[in-house]
Symmetry: C2
Subunit: 215 residues, 2 copies
């Protein structure tokens, strides 16, 4: 019922026996538009799951908002088209989201995957893809919503934290949960070692959660 | 670093190799005064850990507040003196807590263990045993503080919940955390099956957390 990972408890079960042969036709496959602000490690994990056949989907586009984001280099290496929409070029969150929606539609995206997107999104984006916008948050929601979640957990003294993939709704970090992973916080941890332990699990559960939601 | 249980992630590590021979003299041993309102299953788990030598402590008294509480029968079976302090007999929370403190002191208690105690405690009790009052709460704090925590978690749609042993401070369910266990919420769960899964972990982590705090 549950996979017991060396470093985490993951729920619901991830089926590690997903066949590598695709059961979907090209037209059936979910088309994921990924949004990333930083290094793009979750973006890469998702693309690798697609390219290895574990996740039956296509990734026609990654959007980033920071011209210096390392995700650009990953996109080039992985062969995924990348578009920069610099939030500084837009007068409002809604204007930025409108531009994002236009790019996503240009690429026939039907699932929006926020993977370390550091801007709050508005109903302009959310309502353009009803119940088809996902996010990953580095805590066991509902604990530690909002920014600096890993630091919040680390400083609070909890012994277990984790990460959560959820649907995006206008209220931040509050949509329906698809999948979670719990990881221990060890006595010897620094913020960096904890973050690394969480990222290992993020990279597992995000592709699996997309498979559950879009499968 | 971490014990991987069939049904949970527990942190910090519980040393399953605790020797059964006691390293403490009678005078050194923590004397646990347990407070219970209901069936007393955590009370029994703690007493069994003591009687089996896993937890090097003594349990001179259990206090309960409901004359019908099933904990009475457990106490009789386990040979632990039980005292009923019926909250209905006291004009205020402080008056009840004053009576509890008197009974605990009569029995030379130095650690107060709230094990399903359903009354909010006051500084009268907390300040009588500074930093020596523990509680177990059936959620992964800081999520789902307060009453009906299991139901709150179940209805919220989280995929992982758990239980937490923490120090008691005047603000409910907010003291420093000693130990936590995470358990999955399965698609097939009812409130009852989830509660049963949580209790298994409560019975493991409470004796272990007492050993950490009072050891």
């Amino acid at each position: 019922m549950t996979i017991w990972d060396q470093h985490a408890l993951i729920s619901p079960v991830i089926d590690s026996e997903i066949p590598s042969s695709s059961s979907k036709t090209t037209n059936d496959r979910p088309r994921l538009g990924i949004m990333a602000s930083g290094s793009g490690s979750n973006f890469e994990a998702i693309v690798q799951a697609v390219q290895s056949g574990q996740l039956d989907a296509e990734v026609p586009i990654v959007i980033y908002n920071n011209p210096q984001a390392a995700v650009v280099d990953r996109a080039a290496r992985l062969g995924i088209p990348a578009v920069c929409l610099n939030h500084r070029d837009y007068a409002s969150r809604e204007a930025l989201d409108g531009a994002i929606v236009a790019v996503l539609r240009d690429h026939n995206v039907n699932w929006v995957i926020m993977a370390g997107w550091m801007r709050i999104v508005t109903p302009v984006l959310i309502n353009a893809f009803p119940e088809h916008v996902l996010n990953i948050h580095p805590s066991l929601l509902p604990s530690f919503k909002g920014g600096r979640a890993i630091e919040q957990a680390f400083q609070s003294g909890v012994k277990i934290t984790g990460c959560t993939v959820h649907y995006v709704v206008p209220e931040v970090d509050s949509g329906k949960i698809i999948m979670q992973a719990a990881v221990p916080i060890l006595e010897t941890d620094t913020l960096e070692t904890l973050q690394a332990r969480l990222q290992v699990q993020e990279h597992k559960i995000y592709p699996a959660a997309i498979a559950i939601a879009a499968g």
